[in-house]
């Protein structure tokens, strides 16, 4: 009950913030919500299940290109493109998982990284269709979403919020379900889980597919909401970012991705206004996090004060 109230409270705060915040920050909130969905997907794989992937940029890009190229080249309706983009993330995760999950640990990191690089280079190679490194700017008619004009700030926020609410509810339901317990079991002791009758390969593949659906949905939404698809979103940077969001906010916490994405966004926004060496500031903040709150902000809060926090 407490956790449901907490999450509802966060949603109310987000709605209120949209009305109270100045335009710049209100629009940032839309970006943060979409990035938080991406981080939730990463959190399901890494935070809850211990699958340390360095290839989630590929899943994000699968969604982004799945949706963006459909609306741009085929004139597909934005809602259908969003759904197909989401599925593209899941399908890509399936393909990667079928091979990558034959490995574990550091090998899994390297294999997922390699797959992501292949995806990145493929986007550059087929630049006649994908736009390559330059990317493609989506036009206003391509960004009409069930009657909503996504080039306008308010509809963009509401669509981002609805996506976030769906993702949050799904995430919460997932981690409180029986399968959520199995995810934790895989992370904590894979061999014991196997002895209990679970097939780690199948379970981890299912986890990765769910993670891919979240990532794909985020990528597709990012394309439609912000009007651009480009190869840089498939680069390794976008595999690292969701990891940082999760680590900062708190791995294996439902609200950690939102908190981490928001804090990281504003840490970069604030620090880049002070110095061109802003990545050093980000790095120092992460080092401090590892030293003083290794479980992330919400992870530490859960450990010390709120053990019921999901």
């Amino acid at each position: 009950m407490k956790s449901v109230a907490l999450h509802l409270g966060v949603l109310v705060l987000l709605v209120v913030a949209q009305f109270l915040l100045p335009s710049y920050h209100a629009n940032n909130l839309s970006r943060i919500l979409v990035l938080a969905v991406f981080a939730m997907g990463y959190n399901i794989a890494f935070g809850y299940s211990g699958l340390l992937s360095l290839g989630h940029a590929l899943l994000f890009a699968a969604g982004m290109y799945g949706a963006g190229m459909l609306v741009h080249h085929a004139g597909t309706a934005a809602l259908l493109a969003l759904l197909i983009g989401t599925l593209a993330g899941g399908i890509m995760a399936t393909l990667v998982g079928l091979l990558a999950l034959r490995t574990a640990g550091v090998s899994f990191m390297i294999v997922t990284l390699m797959f992501a690089q292949v995806g990145f280079l493929t986007i550059l190679y087929f630049n006649g269709v994908t736009g390559g490194d330059e990317g493609i700017a989506l036009t206003a008619p391509e960004r009409q979403f069930i009657g909503l004009d996504l080039t306008q700030d308010a509809p963009r926020f509401w669509v981002a919020l609805v996506l976030f609410v769906i993702a949050l509810a799904a995430n919460l339901a997932l981690v409180r379900s029986r399968f959520g317990r199995v995810m934790l079991a895989m992370r904590e002791n894979e061999e014991r889980s196997r002895m209990l009758g679970f097939n780690p390969y199948v379970v981890k593949l299912q986890i990765l597919v769910i993670s891919g659906l979240f990532s794909g949905a985020a990528g597709a939404a990012y394309a439609l909401l912000f009007g651009y698809i480009g190869g840089s979103f498939a680069s390794v940077q976008y595999s690292i970012l969701p990891m940082l969001y999760v680590l900062l906010g708190g791995a294996a916490t439902v609200l950690g991705p939102l908190l981490g994405a928001g804090l990281m966004f504003y840490l970069i926004d604030f620090a880049s206004g002070l110095t061109s060496a802003y990545l050093m500031v980000v790095g120092a903040a992460l080092v401090a996090l590892v030293l003083f709150a290794p479980k992330g902000i919400l992870g530490t809060i859960r450990e010390r004060w709120l053990p019921w926090l999901p």
């Binding site: 280079l121 550059l124 736009g131 700017a137 912000f226 651009y228 061109s276």
Partner: protein, 428 residues
């Protein structure tokens, strides 16, 4: 208190009426232009301060600062001084769109300028269009003139890469050879060179006999060099990034000193790099495209010296404070010329604030001839209001004694091509 004293503090009926009239005028906004005089015009500059474009960004900032100082010394724009607000985009399209938002909505900038890298332009232009804020890029990419962007995005300070490449073909065919092998990075920038130069050479009666695409992650080029056909007369190379140093060194080892085809390249690869750097000796005698000659040519225009002095560049194209700090001379003039274009357009439009942004773009679209002067030290230009793209002359330089020496200047006709878009028919 005497009557005289009371009158000193109590306003007369006439004074009260005059005050009310002034107040009414002020509240209706009729006196706003007068009040606005002297208030700085904030111009947002999307800067590549970090990321792959940082060496360009450093010089773009210096050049823009120098131009802003000169404009302010000339009385500003419409009597108002300008203030450049820099935001680092990290040479990243995602961050690029965010800083467009920040400069427009948080800093209250009148417009945004300065972006170089194409992917940042492509990622940022949609947001500029949503905010209905003029977005003047200094990118040289073909993305503006191709029609891929929107009515709020213009490129008035530098010729686009399609025109640059096309302008090279007549001279290359006439002076270096007609059988060309191209070596280029295997992504959009390289593909622009591949497609436009191949077509331009064909129009000159030449032929591109081999196209060798180098994957962007490649660090060594030895495996590609044997693919260069023996009958190659000209090796056209464009390798943006640090890979160019390795490429030239390996090319020299492959052919040996004084051997091999004639080389023609784009200076983009070697902007901010000293041509006399050890390892680049094989470039001696080769030719390069330059938009603006790094080494001051003998026939430099009358404003060249003043421009170099204002930016702080010596006659070799390096910083006057540090001879090892080589400029990005063939690109950075675009920020200077864009700022003077903004001045010209704002004054012609009678620009007073954001409500005049649409009128400002329409005024820009109406500008055509941009004559040579201190406002355009790179040379005279013609702005095409339909395609939102400016066109100017280009130069070809030869490496002589480790320095780039101008040997040819193209005409504007050399780089002409048919319009691919008419932005003026698009809605705002």
């Amino acid at each position: 208190m005497t009557t005289k004293d009371r009158n000193a503090f109590a306003p007369s009926r006439r004074a009260v009426l005059a005050g009310m009239g002034a107040g009414l005028l002020a509240t209706t906004g009729l006196v706003r232009p007068v009040m606005a005089q002297g208030a700085p015009l904030k111009l947002g500059f999307q800067l590549h301060a970090t990321g792959i474009g940082a060496s360009y960004g450093r010089w773009y900032q210096r050049t823009a600062d120098a131009a802003a100082k000169m404009i302010n010394d000339m009385g500003g724009i419409g009597g108002r001084p300008i203030e450049l607000i820099y935001e680092d985009d990290g040479t990243d399209p995602k961050r690029g769109a965010e800083v467009v938002d920040k400069m427009a909505n948080q800093h209250g900038c009148e417009l945004i300028l300065g972006t170089l890298f194409s992917h940042v332009v492509m990622g940022s232009a949609p947001r500029a269009g949503e905010l209905k804020i003029p977005y003047l890029v200094c990118s040289e990419g073909y993305h503006v003139a191709s029609g891929a962007l929107n009515r709020w995005t213009l490129q008035p300070g530098i010729t686009d890469v399609r025109s640059q490449i096309s302008a090279m073909a007549p001279w290359v065919a006439a002076n270096l050879g007609k059988k060309v092998t191209m070596v280029f990075p295997d992504y959009a920038f390289g593909h622009d060179h591949r497609d436009f130069f191949t077509a331009a050479m064909k129009a000159q009666g030449g032929e591109v006999i081999a196209q060798i695409a180098i994957p962007p992650t490649e660090t060594s080029f030895t495996q590609y060099l044997p693919q260069i056909p023996a009958e190659t007369e000209v090796l056209y190379h464009v390798m943006v990034g640090p890979g160019v140093l390795t490429f030239v060194k390996e090319l020299g080892e492959f052919y040996g000193p004084g051997n091999g085809p004639k080389l023609f390249g784009f200076i983009d690869s070697l902007e901010a790099v000293d041509i006399a750097t050890p390892g680049l000796e094989f470039l001696e005698g080769s030719h390069f495209w330059e938009a603006h000659n790094r080494v001051k040519p003998a026939d430099a225009g009358e404003h060249e010296a003043a421009y170099r002095a204002a930016v702080g560049v010596d006659d070799n194209g390096a910083s006057v404070a540090d001879a090892t700090d080589v400029s990005t001379y063939s690109h950075m003039f675009s920020t200077w010329e864009t700022l003077f274009f903004i001045k010209q357009a704002m004054e012609a439009a009678g620009y007073t604030g954001p409500a005049d942004r649409q009128k400002l773009v329409e005024t820009m679209e109406g500008i055509s001839d941009l004559p040579y002067g201190i406002e355009r030290p790179q040379g005279a230009k013609v702005f095409n209001g339909k395609t939102h793209q400016v066109f100017g002359t280009q130069t070809i330089s030869q490496v002589q004694g480790g320095k780039l020496v101008k040997v040819h200047q193209t005409s504007m006709a050399d780089g002409a091509y048919d319009d691919a878009v008419d932005y003026t028919t698009m809605s705002f």
